[in-house]
């Protein structure tokens, strides 16, 4: 019986010839990741386990991104603890505020994850790296601690759903619209315990940034991981983003699903038919196309996060905002994924376009995405966000509302003061 792409990577990391869905395995890990919320808990568990040193100082990655720059004293204490651990354990891949980024934008950019890797991260959106053809999944702090100590994690081998992509998206449609469309179709538990594997001739019409956005939201369909077939674009991206640290040698490996791989279900997605899509409160599955949105007045627009804080997202935002002003009494907050993206925005004039349009251009941080800081909503307020979750209270007050959309829809909405179709600008 053939194996899926995910199953092949897991088999290789478990030292097995074959694995099948439902089997429990223990796999070797290439990267173990945590942030300033999950890291401190993991470090405490690590110590309780009686571990003294991490399994490999090059393979543990710590990124303070959620409540940084430290939003309050408690956050400062948590970051301090993580920093001290990083210094003590000589962890190379610890990124201080000035060189950091939102973890899932940062790791691919720095070449820390490559095709064929097995990655666990104490953050649910670790699945983002599936865009590179890696197996990557979110776990909790105790799993993270065990991973740091032993370089291994237990997994139940997942079955998989295949997404066969065909066609080419229209001008204002991006990876965000595609994944929102899919989640709307299969629901927030549509891929529970399963892999979502993306392939097909339409793949070549999706940029790497599109793919990162889509893999990022696999968890929003309940999936264990999302993964993309490796093609020329992936190879080019990895070449461009090779890790510069000599001590940290990375070898990528391309896995492809067997011809007779078993998929529980196959969906054919025609990218040319997808419309700009918005997820209404309070679940990512409550999607409507832009044509059915109606008149929704908004108070705030947030563009950024590990879902849509990459260069292409900044580019489309700048294109729409250029020479325009955000609506009266509208708050537009733009937070890029990494320091590098921030710098690029400054260099090529996007930063100026943002500020002139009346936006706040923030340092990279998770901040508003999880209702941490830098843009909390009051009762009754509505926001359009390019983030990944619109749960009750996610961005602030329990009576606030979040509408998830692409950067193009979000930027157009900021100008219009209501949810707006970029095609109509």
């Amino acid at each position: 019986m053939g194996m899926t792409m995910t199953q092949k990577i897991l088999a290789a990391h478990a030292g097995l010839k074959t694995v099948k869905a439902g089997q429990f395995i223990e796999a070797e890990l290439d990267i173990v990741l945590a942030n300033d919320i999950t890291g401190p808990v993991a470090i405490k568990e690590f110590q309780k386990m009686g571990a003294e040193s991490v399994f490999d100082k090059n393979k543990v990655v710590l990124v303070p991104d959620h409540f940084t720059p430290n939003k309050d004293i408690k956050a400062a204490e948590q970051c301090k603890m993580m920093r001290e651990f990083a210094v003590d354990q000589k962890i190379e891949n610890y990124f201080e505020v000035g060189e950091m980024g939102i973890e899932h934008a940062l790791l691919p950019e720095k070449g820390i994850v490559v095709a064929g890797d097995a990655v666990i991260g104490a953050d649910s959106h670790t699945c983002t790296y599936g865009a590179l053809g890696a197996f990557a999944t979110g776990i909790g702090s105790t799993d993270m601690a065990a991973g740091m100590a032993r370089g291994k994690a237990w997994f139940k081998v997942p079955s998989a759903i295949k997404f066969e992509l065909i066609g080419k998206p229209t001008k204002w449609v991006s990876g965000k619209d595609v994944i929102l469309h899919i989640i709307g179709m299969i629901g927030v538990d549509g891929a529970l315990y399963q892999s979502m594997e993306f392939m097909g001739p339409g793949l070549k019409n999706l940029s790497m940034d599109d793919r990162f956005t889509m893999a990022n939201m696999a968890i929003e369909a309940g999936a264990k991981n999302g993964i993309f077939l490796v093609d020329d674009k992936t190879m080019e991206y990895m070449k461009e983003h090779k890790n510069k640290n000599k001590a940290f040698k990375k070898k990528m490996k391309v896995y492809e699903p067997d011809k007779d791989a078993v998929y529980v279900e196959t969906y054919v997605i025609d990218l040319s038919k997808i419309r700009p899509t918005v997820a209404f409160p309070h679940l990512p599955e409550n999607t409507r196309t832009i044509d059915d949105v109606g008149e929704i007045r908004i108070d705030q627009v947030v563009i950024g996060s590990c879902t849509n804080g990459r260069m292409e997202d900044m580019k489309v935002t700048a294109k729409i905002l250029k020479g325009k002003k955000v609506a009266k009494n509208m708050r537009l907050i733009i937070f890029p994924g990494t320091q590098n993206i921030y710098l690029e925005c400054v260099k090529n004039g996007y930063a100026e376009i943002f500020v002139k349009a009346g936006a706040v251009f923030s340092t990279p941080t998770c901040g508003p995405c999880l209702g941490g800081h830098m843009g909390i909503l009051a009762a009754g307020e509505r926001a359009v966000a390019t983030t990944n979750r619109n749960f009750v209270g996610r961005m602030g007050h329990v009576e606030s509302e979040i509408y998830l959309a692409s950067p193009a829809v979000a930027a157009a909405s900021a100008i219009a003061g209501k949810i707006f179709n970029p095609e109509d600008l």
Partner: protein
């Protein structure tokens, strides 16, 4: 034996423990805010041993282990649902919060019912209604982790 608190489908980690309280990882502190965004009265009413019964996909959302930790520290002895989000599922076993998958129990048990759970057999008894439901027993691998009282000890023994 515990009294049941009942919730709907897709209860997410942001309502179990909102991010604004995540600048601490002290269980007792987290417990004070458990479920507050969907049920402000929960923390005032819950007693040691009580049980949460909910709809499908319980615990969806973030990987924060603070969610099962908050539920456990609030005194809850077990969560029953037809399905759990996968990270929450792992985190619960890893941190020692017992959870059971049982569709029938999740449908038939009502808020306020008195329920008794046998973790060895997976049997759930509703003493208020006089009904019994059978949950899936734990997979063997997970039983090993449970036998070690969570992943910390499991690793300690295998380091």
């Amino acid at each position: 034996m515990g009294i049941v608190f009942k919730y709907g489908e897709n209860v997410d980690t942001d309502v179990i423990i909102p991010a604004r309280h995540l600048s601490t990882s002290v269980p007792a502190e987290l417990a004070k805010h458990c479920m507050e965004d969907i049920d402000a009265e929960f923390v005032n009413q819950v007693k040691e041993g009580d049980i949460i019964v909910a709809g499908k996909n319980f615990g969806c959302g973030s990987s924060r282990e603070h969610a099962p930790i908050a539920i456990k520290a609030a005194g809850v002895s077990c969560v029953i649902a037809p399905t759990f989000a996968r990270i929450f599922y792992r985190n619960s076993f890893n941190t020692g919060l017992p959870i059971l998958e049982c569709e029938e129990a999740a449908v038939k048990i009502q808020a306020g019912d008195e329920v008794e759970v046998n973790f060895k057999t997976g049997e759930i008894r509703n003493t208020t209604k006089g009904e019994t439901y059978q949950a899936e027993p734990f997979p063997e691998f997970i039983s090993k982790i449970i036998a070690c009282d969570g992943l910390v000890n499991y690793v300690k023994n295998n380091l």
